[in-house]
């Protein structure tokens, strides 16, 4: 019998994916997260929202692989997923220094002068409702939050 606010997964259950820091595995990670979003949330998200979550996750993970762990696959990349009523929380843990401070981040994309890089953080901020960079237990944790529509509804 389901609890009063529980989805198919209990509220707050954390699902964890742990993998070597290799870009080759990120496609599989995206598939797992898509599966979680499709199977474990109270509300069904529209396809463009699912895509947005996947691209945000990709940018967070590729940032770890390329920058935080500098291509060292022995450092684990850990992704935690948790759905609580009204929110999907994705935590990406790494052993790097965290995001650069605001004043050292790339400027927003300018169509008049398109750049070849620097889109990752912008994509994160545009696709997710909250992006929080923090240190916890000697690790850097990037928390991505997507607010979810009310139970049974669709956005």
């Amino acid at each position: 019998m389901a609890g009063a606010t529980a989805g198919p997964g209990g509220p707050g259950d954390r699902i964890e994916i742990r993998l070597p820091s290799r870009a080759d595995y990120l496609g599989a990670v995206r598939s797992v997260v898509r599966g979680f979003v499709e199977e474990c949330l109270d509300a069904r998200l529209p396809e463009d929202e699912v895509n947005a979550i996947q691209i945000a996750l990709q940018e967070a993970c590729i940032n770890v692989v390329r920058h935080a762990h500098r291509g060292d696959p022995s450092k684990p990349l850990v992704i935690g997923l948790r759905a609580v009523p009204g929110r999907l929380e994705i935590e990406v843990e790494d052993f790097g220094p965290g995001l650069p401070p605001e004043d050292r981040r790339p400027p927003d994309p300018d169509p008049e002068n398109p750049r070849e890089g620097g889109y990752g953080l912008f994509i994160l901020r545009q696709t997710m409702d909250e992006v929080v960079s923090a240190r916890r237990d000697g690790k850097h944790v990037l928390t991505l939050v997507k607010r979810l529509p009310p139970r049974g509804g669709s956005a």
Binding site: E116, G120, I123
Partner: protein, 116 residues
């Protein structure tokens, strides 16, 4: 990454043979392929993105890099057959106004021919 090339007049049409993810190092392969074409003097390009299942910031960077090279050589790179998931990332990053996007290869080809 297998890319098929077809030349129609002075325009080269590029398409991915199989479904691909334009991410990470794979996107570098694509960019280098385009740069080789440009070095070869072929600067009117259409890229069919119909087989692209996923694109990340590296894939976007490769497209922009290819575009900059081709435009500085006096040519253009047009996109065709852009899947909804790729189109939404182009919109998100404001690159939809940077690229000349067409529904099909034929439309993109006609746009080149109309430009003379």
């Amino acid at each position: 990454m297998d890319i098929a090339l077809r030349q129609v007049g002075s325009v080269v049409l590029l398409s991915f043979v199989r479904p691909v993810n334009l991410e990470g190092d794979d996107s570098i392969q694509f960019r280098d392929r385009v740069k080789n074409l440009i070095a070869d003097g072929r600067t009117r390009l259409v890229v069919d993105l119909g087989q692209v299942k996923f694109i990340d910031s590296f894939g976007l960077g490769a497209l922009v890099s290819a575009l900059r090279v081709v435009r500085s050589a006096g040519g253009d790179l047009k996109l065709a057959h852009v899947p909804a998931s790729v189109e939404s990332v182009l919109r998100l990053t404001r690159l939809n106004s940077v690229f000349d996007v067409h529904p099909s290869m034929e439309d993109a080809l006609r746009a080149f021919q109309a430009a003379g």
